[in-house]
């Protein structure tokens, strides 16, 4: 079983740097594509979003992430793939999704990365609650 995707709170830039550095020993890799989802401070009827509280059906989500992983390795000639998704509170401006795909050549890294993100959006049982400056909330 692969390691867990869901992680408490925002994803730190240092974690991304560490993940990149971990690939320097894999000298067959020529291309990395990284997608990051960042929480926007959207406004709804004058109220500004100060953060998003992520919740998930955790066991099912990890199962879905595993299936996405398998499908991507089957479809694309890639070397590595990592996904991290936040749970709980993530403030506006912070990172809540980190998708990292590595391959020999660049084209496939873009295609696989985009596919992962679209599959996450479509299949992962995760929900967002926008938290406003006035502490009210709204499910997305």
């Amino acid at each position: 079983m692969s390691k867990k995707v869901l992680t408490e709170g925002a994803i730190a830039p240092e974690k991304i740097a560490k993940s990149i550095a971990n690939h320097s020993s894999k000298t067959g890799i020529g291309a990395h594509n990284i997608f990051l989802g960042q929480v926007r401070a959207d406004k709804h009827e004058g109220k500004q979003v100060k953060g998003i509280n992520y919740s998930a059906y955790e066991e099912m989500a990890e199962k879905v992430f595993h299936e996405i992983r398998e499908s991507i390795f089957e479809k694309y000639d890639i070397s590595c793939m990592h996904i991290y998704h936040s749970l709980g509170m993530v403030k506006a401006g912070e990172i809540s999704l980190f998708v990292f795909v590595s391959s020999k050549h660049r084209g496939v890294s873009y295609e696989a990365s985009r596919d992962v993100v679209e599959q996450i959006k479509a299949k992962a049982p995760i929900w967002k609650k926008e938290i406003f400056e006035n502490e009210k909330h709204q499910w997305v």
Binding site: S55, A56, Y57, K63, V117, A124, P125, W139
Partner: protein, 77 residues
């Protein structure tokens, strides 16, 4: 027979609970009918149903120990 029902996302606000235990329903249709009766607002909500973490698309027989989840539209990423 003991079956667990889980509520996620906005549905948690509708039912005011994260989970409940039931025992009197033999399939998902009858369970759903009872839930919509108890929580009228469910009739206005869009959601899918998962039985033991797999989304179902038709009425499904319930067995002892099953976990049923009501899943509003996903919003990950």
């Amino acid at each position: 027979m003991r079956i667990k029902v889980l509520f996620f996302g906005v549905l948690e606000d509708v039912t005011k609970k994260k989970e409940m235990s039931i025992s009197d329903f033999s399939d998902t249709d009858s369970l759903l009918k009872a839930l919509k009766n108890e929580f009228a607002e469910l009739n206005e909500k869009t959601f899918q149903i998962a039985v033991n973490q797999t989304i179902i698309n038709k009425n499904t027989t319930l067995n002892n120990g099953d976990t049923i989840a009501l899943l509003p539209p996903f919003a990950g990423g």
